[in-house]
């Protein structure tokens, strides 16, 4: 069995995806397709709709019109297979890193020890301290572990490299490579042109909420 067939879905397709905030359009009839084993970089200026697209793909917002198909899955069934890493770590500052991971593992129904995650993301002794005491790089490692603990089929990365030092960016790039190899669909939003060039298999450019360019 190939890595791809182990995934619950290998494509994510949006059709006519439109999101209005009041009367302000954030996305207008966006049709995109994301594929497994590919890193799709979503580019565009501030306010072009990149983060809105990520929000919709993560089901953190509802489209005003249009649909998102996660292979044959829709709605909450698909949500289980989506991982999100953003600039904010999405971790409780007053819980330790491991307490955060244990909580999210229990919510995702991930059984067993978290030692593998600890090893993979080099979660040292800092993971046993409240996350409010962690550095940006340490937080990002914990956030990566949170986003990946359920082995998502769709990994959404919204400005994940912001504020990371060179070593942090290298570590992030290695994880993205691993996820691509595992068969995940990876969508990467970044303003870091060098990082985008390095990671991109495909590019989608948004401008004023519309797809202005899609290139392999």
């Amino acid at each position: 069995m190939s890595a791809d067939t182990q995934q619950p879905f290998t494509t994510v397709r949006t059709e006519g995806l439109t999101k209005l905030y009041g009367r302000t359009p954030a996305l207008v009839t966006v049709d995109v397709e994301l594929h497994a084993r590919q890193v799709t970089v979503i580019e565009g200026a501030n306010g072009s709709g990149k983060s809105t697209l990520v929000q919709l793909l993560a089901q953190l917002a509802r489209p005003t019109r249009g649909t998102i198909a996660y292979g044959q899955l829709t709605g909450a069934d698909a949500r289980r297979h989506v991982g999100l890493l953003a600039h904010a770590p999405m971790l409780y500052p007053d819980l330790t890193g491991m307490e955060n991971l244990t909580l999210f593992a229990s919510l995702y129904g991930v059984d067993g020890s978290l030692d593998t995650l600890r090893e993979r993301f080099e979660l040292g002794r800092f993971a046993d301290r409240p996350t409010r005491t962690c550095s940006r790089g340490q937080l990002q490692r914990l956030a990566l572990a949170r986003a990946l603990l359920a082995k998502p089929a769709l990994l959404l990365l919204d400005e994940p490299s912001t504020g990371l030092d060179v070593r942090g960016v290298e570590r992030l790039a290695a994880v993205i490579d691993d996820e691509r190899e595992r068969g995940a669909i990876v969508a990467l939003v970044t303003h870091d042109a060098a990082f985008a060039d390095r990671m991109a298999d495909r590019r989608i450019r948004l401008s004023r909420g519309r797809v202005s360019e899609a290139a392999a």
């Binding site: 909450a76 999100l84 971790l91 819980l95 909580l103 999210f104 229990s106 949170r146």
Partner: protein, 227 residues
Amino acid sequence: MKGFLAASWRIAAKDLRIELRTKEVVVTTGLFALLVVVLSSLAFYLSKGLAERLAPGVLWIAIAFSGVMAVGRSWERERDNQVLRALLLAPIPRGALFVGKLLANLLFVFAIEAIVLPLTALFFHVDLLPILPMLLALMALGTLGFVAAGTLFGALAARSSNARDLVLSLVVFPLIAPALLGAVVATRDLFAGASVAELFGWIRALAAFDLIFLAAGVVLFDPLLAD
């Protein structure tokens, strides 16, 4: 159903763990409630009879204000570092998130009430013992309704980018007004010697309010949180 309850408990247990570690919600809002009771006793204590009549109002004002503050602070924790997004992404029924937050918020407010009630009795010379079981029942019913409403709309405020306290106050206080009115009047009648039978109408009204907001919370939580 088992999964729903398990997820709710995990959310509540997480809040309790954080609170036991920081004591932030109960201590800060409990001190506020304490201040309301003490200042009210200094300002309004003119005679024992008058104090007894003022006690229900002071008790519920302290509980309502500190309770709404506690609920708001509890949701702020989900806003810090945008953890709420991670919770919403998790494959649990969003109604379970509501129930978990409600459970934790109820325990916070009950802890505040455990401080406020004996102090109100002390400062306003109310003999609690003969009416304690009925008073606790009324407080539980009154608290459940307004904490449920606060938890439901507190989530909405937590997702707002600005004016969160304004959103919470403007939405929650009008909504909880019927429950608070019922609770205050029922407590006043209880202090004045009303029997259980005489209070039954208020108990039924408070229970109905609780059921409405519990059901509304479980059903509306998901659509309310969707942008």
